[in-house]
Subunit: 432 residues, 2 copies
């Protein structure tokens, strides 16, 4: 057993050691930016062995894509870069004073020393103090959760087919999505879509198209981050797909039998959570200023005030621009990852740092099978054209050439034949 | 709550109800053969919602294919056949006298009445009375097990990369496969292959190519069902790949730290089980003659002696031909499924039944990336040519057009670039 206080230093003599915590959009972009410079050694630490293309996670949850279509092994991204190492484990503590992070794996704790640090470990779902709701309403942040949601959706149709009590059958065919952001909208649209197209010919006793899909949002309207006109358009598109949209109705209760919201009780066996997010808990071990969502308040160069060698990016960062906090979106994380890496290289090579400035390339969300909304600067797209734009951008940004090909093939298939290639119910238990 | 003794009968008036237990090769073929005849109604009962192409399961276990590439929803196979219903649940009891089966799902037990029955629920791994070994040595019969084996293989390399004790590192990089049948041979070959090609550039502290892969067989030689010359060829091919082959050495013990066999103790953190099989337990509820492996002894027309309305096929059946028991292979199950279905239709339409005769189309097994052995009648193929034959047959037999395309794409990719598309470690737990 190693003494956890004896920190490992992976860089060779003369190299600076840069530890990046998190292999998401921000961390991976930072690592790729740094990899080309052989005066640095980079260690990417992540709990999981794969980078996940989170914007398409709802497609795994609704049997449209395979888990492997939207995930690439982090290691495989650095096969050609011997100065990048990947360390599988969970960072439980950051010691800014000693410049080391504690990493836990299945076997032990070790400490990794750094010269520069980039914290990019993101956020998880927030149940607003009701962690006990998670059991009944899984979130959608990881592949495991997406496969669990897929299992619940497909199993609900199967159980309804076997059910004789019409009331229970109704509850089994009622799907509630809590949270009207892009994830909630995309998930609700996709559930409505598969029940009306893919599954419709495959059952004998139930009509899958009769499934109720209910989207519940606490705020005054769905897609709060989008311009109001586009959100209205999306609401109309969702209703046309058969999704019931309830805005201004916070959820009061979630249990095994359904949800309560706005004084109403809805019997539903499937509830999914796409509401709040909170920063990963490791931020609390820093001993620095956090905002209400647990995010680290960073300086304009993305470093922690008083710690120019430690950067925070992505969903874990509270970065302000023009008086507003930058949103937790993939493009923000990608641009911040590049900026943080460049600022580290600037310091190493004796150049001045540059304040981070996010360039907004727009926002998009899909609704059902081939509609979307897109806000690109002042341009607004809706319907089919917006969907084509969405398709193009998502294929383009998918990290790893193979995945682009696989996703395009899956989508062409499902588009042409209204089928879903990944309609698998796999259990949690492998034992016989 | 329904009275479980009030059996449900799904057929309409005038239709015969045929219940098929199991959606594997045998059950699915039988259902497809029967579906075209509208004087019958077919109910396929399975614990899982998907038909699994078991011969390629080892490719999922070694990150070559996605789970969805080798599985199709059973329902989707009968979209165009309103006289075929699929019932998700586990058959816990068969009552031959009352002509009904008891099906358990998550909610309750129900009984399904039948006029004709086809039992095709297959076999599971046998640990020869040592069920406690399963924890340390998962078998390879289901998608869940394949994903678990994939998780263990990839996690072992990750843990070895983080390990400082050379002895533990050695045990983490030692993989033992118990059982030298086709599954064991293919699994061992594929583990050796990925450690020497796919993973080799992605680690910094360990050399994945130094991984030990050990194949242990209790019988005097591996691939006992194949001609001896081919088995010798396979042994040589495996050794060339770096697999250590030990025949004539039964395993004495499996635990968390390794295996004991032939008086030797081998420290290994990953042990996989591809040894014996035993028939599914439901056979014991029949009250009829079983063989030592728990299989039902059937008459020449595949029915249970004394019960001309009840058939048993596939791995659950003990069917003899020319004095030998037919082996538990996919082609036997497929041909038997067709024969049982035709015998049922013969009885319904007043024609005589035909005794089942298995037509042996040959056997094949792959060794590593592009070698195989094939026995086709008196012809013997080895090496690359045998591998091409193997590829052709497996693509041809993959049920569902989409899967053929997906598998061919995955294989072309991995063949051209020595990469594996499905290198995902996904956990057992979805909660945060």
């Amino acid at each position: 057993m190693m003494d956890p206080m004896t920190a490992i230093r992976r860089a060779r003599a003369g190299q600076r050691e840069i530890v990046i915590v998190g292999g998401g959009f921000g961390g991976l972009t930072a690592a790729k930016t740094l990899a080309a410079d052989r005066t640095v050694h980079v260690t990417v630490v992540d709990r999981r062995n794969h980078h996940l293309f989170q914007p398409l996670l709802y497609q795994v949850a609704t049997a449209g894509l395979n888990p492997a279509d939207i995930a690439v092994p982090i290691r495989s991204q650095f096969s050609g870069h011997p100065n990048v190492a990947v360390h599988l484990g969970e960072v439980t503590r950051v010691d800014l004073r000693e410049r080391q992070v504690t990493v836990r794996d299945e076997r032990r704790d070790v400490a990794l020393a750094y010269d520069y640090l980039i914290l990019a470990c993101g956020a998880r779902h927030s149940y607003f103090g009701r962690g006990d709701w998670e059991e009944y309403a899984p979130g959608l942040k990881t592949l495991e959760q997406a496969v669990e949601i897929r299992r619940r959706i497909l199993s609900a149709f199967e159980a309804a087919e076997n059910e004789f009590d019409p009331e229970v059958q109704r509850a089994l065919l009622t799907f509630v999505v809590v949270g009207g952001g892009p994830t909630g909208v995309e998930l609700a649209g996709a559930i409505a879509d598969i029940s009306r197209t893919v599954l419709v010919r495959d059952f004998r006793r139930i009509d899958p198209a009769s499934a109720r899909v209910v989207l519940v949002e606490a705020g005054p309207r769905i897609l709060a981050a989008f311009p109001e006109g586009l959100a209205q358009h999306a609401t109309a598109d969702l209703r046309q797909l058969g999704v019931e949209v309830h805005a201004g109705t916070p959820v009061d209760r979630v249990d095994a039998d359904g949800v309560s919201f706005g004084g109403e009780r809805l019997a539903a066996r499937s509830v999914f959570w796409a509401a709040g997010v909170q920063a990963e808990g490791v931020a609390r071990t820093l001993g620095v200023d956090l905002d209400r969502a647990g995010r680290v308040k960073v300086a304009p160069d993305l470093s922690i005030p008083g710690h120019p060698e430690a950067f925070v990016i992505g969903d874990l960062a509270h970065a302000e621009q023009d008086g507003e906090v930058l949103p937790g979106l993939a493009p923000v994380a990608i641009q911040a990852g590049r900026a943080a890496a460049r600022n580290i290289l600037a310091s190493i090579h004796g150049r001045p740092r540059t304040p981070f400035r996010y360039f907004d390339k727009g926002m998009m969300a899909t609704i059902g099978k081939h509609k979307a909304i897109t806000a690109l600067g002042r341009a607004r797209l809706t319907g089919y054209l917006a969907w084509i734009a969405w398709l193009f951008v998502h294929i383009l940004y998918l990290i790893g050439f193979r995945n682009r090909v696989a996703v395009l093939a899956e989508w062409s298939w499902s588009y042409l034949f209204s089928r879903r290639g990944a309609r698998l119910i796999t259990g949690r238990e492998w034992r016989t």
